[in-house]
């Protein structure tokens, strides 16, 4: 039995300790906002924050998380930066199918917490781990700039 701290709540999990956090969230705890896209750390759909660091839940076994703070997309509306990112996402009309967007919001929020005024190169670096098959990248870039209060947002 492992106790995890997820979005400020303590959750008891009775699963083998090598189980990735992704499947604990999705299948055991019913928190399906964190998505499965590849299972091998190449798409970013499963991005969560672990002690503030953007982390891929699909390759993070729960055995490593006993003392950590886990934050998921479901808590972003209560996070000052996360909320700002969500609002700019809606203002720019970023989502298409939306499936990748939990991960995108998590990566963008982590970026803005670290670098409140990111450059294009910073955005490339922070966001290139998040695939979007629908192709929402130009709007993701615009939305990050809007959330950061940087100009040159496309009309």
């Amino acid at each position: 039995m492992i106790t995890l701290n997820i979005n400020g709540k303590r959750r008891k999990v009775d699963l083998p300790s090598d189980t990735p956090l992704l499947w604990v969230l999705r299948d055991q705890l019913g928190m399906t906002g964190t998505k499965f896209g590849c299972g091998m750390a190449v798409c970013g759909a499963c991005m969560v924050h672990i002690d503030g660091e953007p982390t891929r839940a699909c390759v993070t076994p729960i055995s490593t998380l006993a003392t950590k703070k886990i934050v998921t997309i479901e808590a972003m509306a209560q996070d000052e930066t996360g909320k700002k990112v969500q609002e700019s996402w809606l203002a720019q009309g970023v989502p298409q199918c939306g499936y990748c967007q939990s991960g995108q919001v998590m990566s963008a929020t982590a970026l803005l917490k670290n670098q409140p005024k990111p450059s294009d190169a910073d955005i490339d670096k922070a966001m290139s781990g998040n695939l979007c098959r629908c192709g929402t990248y130009p709007r993701i870039r615009a939305a990050i700039k809007q959330a950061a209060g940087i100009g040159e947002v496309q009309a």
Partner: protein, 783 residues
């Protein structure tokens, strides 16, 4: 109260369930036709007349009329108004990122004069007898349902007005519905929709001449694009529910090991190690389907467990011996050579005018080129997933499907239950791109629930499953030859198109492309050339070929639009001017005269090929992109134009290639004429997305086979364009339609095909290097 409960199917005049022509690209048409009469595209018949192998029709049907179950415009089916005034609108088309759950209900709400803030949207289950056609594909949803949904809204509004007039005992001409209430102007009285709903639902539904649609200048939402995505907030907060997210009490989780080679079977297997793993509950064998596979499951060994991870671990522990079957030697390298051989010999003539051979003989200059495009996987970010349970002879399914009625029919067939015992709930789709039109995975989930005595089972396809077992985009070799006269004017055009056909997935492999495939930009080039011949040499299929966003337009546009650029260069002319001359003056062409008997299933009278519109998008995009402007070294502009899904698109791509050969795309301009624009904001997002998907397939996309099996396992090997390699700026130029009642074109697909050729033409402008084989991958890199 719910007025939606009061529908009476018997009184519904809008159900036209008879079979449609084989030429319609509906997935269902395929199985229906094959089920009834076998493979009806008779080999040996002149291909141009293949459509006539369907039953002859006195009045051929087109558009939505020709789709299975046609359309329904009964407000009692689509609208419910609660006593508190909440308006519930049913969306019967699948949402997969195109914004249809916003756009179609917005059309209803506009005509209904509903306040968007008080509108709720519910998703229809698969039930076409009730809702009309639900196959969400072919860039058809808005095209086919804009008018029916306007009528739904207008009829409901008139019923509310009539109820208000009766309530006040005033003539109906004195009342007017405005934003969720009906006003009586002379007295200044007002009454809300919620109060009127009950009485309104009992009134006759106005139809025909009695129906009054808004004038376009009265639209509040249509054409404005101000509504925002209905599901937007759920999406950004992680609460949107996709097929993979279904939660039910007592849910079990499954993955399946499928035969690596199409047509393969399980020879033997050992599940003992898998069954010892924690969380694994059961291992079951699924029956394989004889080829052609159609939409049926591939069979294999399923592991059912307490969670998805345990199921995956269980699958890894299976020991399976496969009998690989007839396609075990499929090899993409060998196959490419076979296609080249086929393309270098005459093939079946599918269109011809003049004397190409003589013209080529007499040409001052001759050119030839071959263009190759590999298989592609749709790879939606949400892989296929479906949950099923069977309780007391009733099967309930939750699935991310583009084709819920088809899924329903197939599940009924496999479970041997009547169709009305099957309910298919449609979740949000985490992308579709054609993959989720094919409901093999939905059937699998139903079979797994059946194997678990009806317990709820969620089947998840891992990314490996998705890339190994998709219905792939075809592989193609396009060979073109052209002759120019002494002035550089094109006088001969020979195009041989070689590609296995989607029809092979459904019937005996004819090895020829169908009219729907030829009609995607190879047979119907609207070029002014006296001597022209299109041939289709044979190609056999060795995997399941299926629909990928914009389908055969991709290889056809790639080859045609790259070759035209090569011809312009050979003629020493500007590409844009050469292309415009090749298209010729503005005129309206009957697609039949271009050999296209399909015309996207639409009436040739309503949807002729309009070269004026094609010219206009080319003129617009080149003007906006600054065609001809001087660029720094290593930069170039490339142009391509393509007509598909009844929409005209032209693209200019700007590339930068550095000394090492690294490619970047600073800017793309896209000009689009898709007719009237219902939700321009979502049109723009679809075009941006299509552009990036086009870049992705051109630069990275490749599924290849070795020993019959796919070589790419996951996104590290099947690369998708990431933000740092995506075009930095995409400028969309929408050409306004002349009138709002002119015919609508498609939007989801038609911007994909011109991207790859415009990109390759830009690379030539920047570097002098021709790209004739996709993906580009390392071809530009200097060692």
């Amino acid at each position: 109260m719910k007025i939606a409960d009061k529908t009476s199917d018997a009184s519904n005049p809008f159900q036209s369930a008879d079979a449609v022509q084989i030429d319609n690209i509906s997935r269902r048409t395929f199985i229906k036709q094959f089920a009834l009469s076998g493979f009806v595209l008779a080999v040996g018949m002149p291909l141009l007349r293949a459509d006539e192998t369907a039953a002859p029709k006195a009045n051929p049907k087109f558009g939505a009329d020709a789709m299975p179950h046609g359309w329904v415009d009964n407000p009692l089916v689509f609208v419910a108004i609660a006593a508190d005034g909440t308006v519930t609108i049913v969306c019967h088309r699948s949402e997969m990122g195109q914004g249809i759950r916003t756009s179609l209900p917005m059309v209803v709400a506009d005509e209904l004069e509903a306040d968007w803030a008080r509108v709720r949207i519910v998703q229809a289950p698969g039930d076409e007898a009730r809702y009309g056609n639900q196959d969400t594909d072919g860039s058809r949803s808005t095209r086919h349902f804009f008018m029916p949904m306007r009528r739904v809204g207008a009829a409901a509004k008139q019923m509310l007005e009539a109820a208000a007039a009766a309530h006040w005992r005033v003539p109906v001409s004195e009342v007017k519905a405005v934003q969720h209430q009906v006003l009586h102007t002379p007295s200044g009285k007002a009454i809300g929709y919620g109060e009127l709903a009950k009485a309104a639902a009992k009134l006759p539904v106005p139809t025909g001449d009695a129906l009054r649609l808004k004038k376009p200048e009265e639209f509040r939402y249509i054409g404005k694009g101000k509504q925002g995505l209905y599901d937007g907030r759920d999406i950004v907060s992680g609460h949107a529910m996709y097929g993979i997210d279904t939660q039910i009490k007592g849910l079990l989780y499954a993955v399946v090991a499928r035969p690596p080679v199409l047509g393969g079977k399980v020879a033997s297997y050992d599940a003992s190690a898998a069954l010892k793993l924690p969380g694994v509950i059961k291992v079951v064998e699924l029956p394989s389907t004889p080829l052609p596979a159609a939409f049926n499951p591939l069979g294999g060994i399923a592991v059912i467990a307490k969670n998805t991870w345990a199921a995956i671990q269980g699958r890894n522990a299976l020991k399976i011996e496969w009998d690989h079957g007839q396609h075990a030697s499929y090899d993409s390298v060998v196959y490419k050579a076979e296609m080249e051989t086929a393309a270098r010999q005459p093939g079946k003539v599918v269109r011809q005018q003049g004397d190409v051979d003589a013209a080529l003989q007499g040409a001052a200059k001759r050119l030839e080129a071959e263009y190759y495009l590999p298989h592609l996987a749709q790879a939606p970010m949400e892989p296929p997933a479906s949950t099923a349970r069977i309780v007391k002879g009733q099967c309930e399914v939750w699935a991310c499907t583009q084709a819920p009625q088809l899924a329903r029919e197939l599940v009924a067939k496999w479970l041997k239950l009547p169709e009305d015992k099957i309910t298919i709930h449609v979740t949000l789709l985490g992308g579709g791109f054609g993959r989720k039109s094919m409901p093999d995975y939905v059937v699998e989930s139903a079979l797994l629930s059946q194997a678990m005595q009806g317990k709820p089972v969620k089947l998840t396809w891992t990314r490996e499953d998705d890339l190994h077992h998709s219905y792939f985009h075809t592989v193609s070799l396009e060979r073109l030859e052209a002759g120019l006269d002494a002035q550089g004017k094109p006088i001969a055009w020979l195009h041989r198109t070689v590609a296995p056909s989607i029809s092979a997935t459904f019937g005996p492999d004819s090895k020829q492309q169908m009219p729907v495939e030829l009609g995607m930009g190879v047979i119907n080039v609207p070029f002014v050339i006296d001597n022209l011949r299109i041939e289709n040499p044979q190609a056999a299929a060795h995997t399941r070929i299926g629909w990928f966003r914009s389908v055969s337009n991709i290889p056809h546009a790639f080859a045609v639009q790259c070759f035209v650029a090569e011809m312009a260069a050979a003629a020493g002319r500007d590409h844009r001017d050469f292309l415009l001359d090749l298209i010729g003056p503005a005129r309206s062409i009957d697609p039949n005269n271009l050999g296209d008997t399909w015309n996207h299933g639409e009436s040739p009278a309503i949807y002729p090929v309009d070269t004026g519109r094609l010219r206009r998008v080319i003129e617009t995009v080149t003007r906006e992109a600054g065609w001809g402007r001087s660029l720094a070294k290593g930069r170039g502009l490339g142009l391509a134009a393509h007509y598909s899904f009844l929409t005209y698109v032209a693209v200019v791509v700007e590339v930068a290639v550095d000394e090492t050969g690294k490619l970047s795309i600073p800017r793309v301009d896209i000009a689009v004429d898709c007719g009237p624009q219902v939700n321009p904001e979502r049109i723009r997002s679809q075009l941006e997305g299509a552009c990036i998907m086009g870049v992705s397939l051109a630069t990275q996309g490749e599924i290849s086979f070795k020993n019959g099996a796919v070589q790419q396992d996951n996104f590290h090997a099947y690369q998708i364009t990431r933000i740092d390699d995506a075009p930095r700026e995409i400028k969309v130029h929408l050409l306004p339609a002349a009138q709002f009642d002119s015919p609508l074109g498609g939007v989801g697909e038609p911007a994909v095909p011109p991207i790859a050729p415009a990109l390759c033409n830009a690379i030539f402008a920047a570097t002098g290097q021709r790209i004739r084989q996709l993906p580009i991958k390392e071809q530009l890199l200097k060692d």
